[in-house]
Symmetry: C2
Subunit: 385 residues, 2 copies
Amino acid sequence: MIVFNFDFYNPTRIIFGKDRLGELDQLVPAGARVLVTYGGGSVKKYGTLDKVKAALGGREVYEFGGIEPNPKYNTLSKAVEVVRENNIDFLLAVGGGSVMDGTKFIAAAAPYKGEPVNLLKIGLSKVKAAIPLGTVVTLPATGSEMNNGCVITHEDKKFPYFSKLLFPQFSILDPTLTFTLPPEQVANGIVDTWVHTCEQYVTYPAEGRLQDRMAEGILQTLIEVGKKTIDNPTDYDARANLVWCATMGLNGLIAVGVPQDWTAHMIGHELTAMFGIDHGKTLAILQPSIWKVLKEHKHAKLLQYAERVWQITGGDEASRIDLAISKTRDFFESLGIKTHLADYNVNADKINDIVKALEKHGLTALSETRKVTLAVSRQILEGAM
Amino acid sequence: MIVFNFDFYNPTRIIFGKDRLGELDQLVPAGARVLVTYGGGSVKKYGTLDKVKAALGGREVYEFGGIEPNPKYNTLSKAVEVVRENNIDFLLAVGGGSVMDGTKFIAAAAPYKGEPVNLLKIGLSKVKAAIPLGTVVTLPATGSEMNNGCVITHEDKKFPYFSKLLFPQFSILDPTLTFTLPPEQVANGIVDTWVHTCEQYVTYPAEGRLQDRMAEGILQTLIEVGKKTIDNPTDYDARANLVWCATMGLNGLIAVGVPQDWTAHMIGHELTAMFGIDHGKTLAILQPSIWKVLKEHKHAKLLQYAERVWQITGGDEASRIDLAISKTRDFFESLGIKTHLADYNVNADKINDIVKALEKHGLTALSETRKVTLAVSRQILEGAM
């Protein structure tokens, strides 16, 4: 095995900690025409939006609310009109992954000459310009605050996009802004962070020794603080550690030079699109089953995971791996997340439809080795019942 | 304990892996007037310089060699003249930490209106402009390739500087370019990386859980690959892991939100300036003694270090810490690095002079708690005999 070549570049400025919102005045260009984007309104209810607007004093500030979970192209295209009509030159996303992802799409679509809908097909990697953006994170989960990717939903399909122009210029990570989250959303975020990390780690050995240690460090930290931060939402230290793990889980660092397996996200996207199951929950449903089905391919890394993350060293290798998988499931369940499809009223008679959707979307060779064919996806779904 | 607030920003682009030098053509602006800086000539001897110049084809390329270990202001000021006389607009450092650090100083000093020597006093943090720079790393050690700091020597004192303008635009980390290093230099680099990591980790507990895990990951990786990469310099995987650990050890990530104790570097700089002991070796001499003297202050983190880095869990706490310290010393010695001052012909009668130098340079309250007074530094030096 030879360590893979890699590039790493991440220019997002992180502003982490308590009482940092006032710094927006330094972070957002003076005189900017700002569109503040947000989701369902909790940032209004809990006062975050007012604080943001106060910090932006002196600038022309517009608002666009209502970006839904799994942000939809149709919603975002309305924001694109607002940007164009008002000559907005800075976007400030205040929310979680959906608001941040949606705002990235708006940033790329607004300067695009032509119908934004065309971008759904051609993707964002080739756009020549994007409106600069910053974020204020209110939900630790997706890592969108420190990467250049976004996932947009259109007509029951989720499209993942990347563009070197879409790194946020800055992201404010104030753990106290997340204290008011419902426990269920915190749990979803923990699972999302967990599975992001595993998707860059539980593959095959690639001599990315430090990357592995970092991934294990995120998982160990989530085990230490996960249930604690759900049970005690205002425990600052626990929440702060979760917030930083969520960001580090998908800012590119644990990905350098190692293989990646995004099977859980890819199949999970179909479950969200078809049945409306929360993104984090789809991952909790799929992860244990994926590992059971792929345990021979992932043998070496699952064994390493069992030993280093769960301290499982006794028994034969197969039983160590089985125990690690069941501990993973128990961890998700301990956060209040159900891990079987049937828990979400999706029964075995739906598997055909899910497999058809995967086929329709070209997701016929998933995982780090592209061995997850439709037949393997079917096995995974059967195991997830 | 409440997690510290922090900022993180690091825009350096990393180009990691085999056969990446050709990409200089894309990385360095077309039409740039480039000054390639280097050290004692091994980059000439082993052909790296020729490859660099070939990759820069079409650009006006100047050379400045002879930047010495612990780069001296007097040398660098000559390069500043070359830059000014030839309207250089890009600097490319090809070498190890000294070449990279020296080149950062050149980058800041050349556009400075006034005598560069004045910058030694006022520092670099206030300079308003710097010439953009990139690096090609030939010695994994200092992390200078992915941070905005440098250490410059003038009249037997080492001055550490930082400036937001001095992040390299890019750094090429090709492990094969380091294969020709003498084992002694590799060993020095391993110790430098090790001690950088410890200086951001063995302090007091601060709820930086992931940062701790990452620091431990670097140390564990160095234990795994350190001796291996000295014994088998062309083992690509081992060397690649060392290279990445060296960069990650001082790019700011393990430092976020945690206390830092730079005692070993501060006292070590005096040992280098006074006795010419290699930088890495000064750290190997000081680290074990610092921990012995400060083991009460650092009790909790030393215990964590013993358990997580060296898997020491038996015996009472004091003996676990003692064992961890002696294992640290053994690790340095296993790399061929002597860890006692007397090994370098510095005897107890020199301690007064060293303490006087610390006093003269204002280094009278070192460590994360500023408890390392001159009296404590004396104890550390006595323990390092």
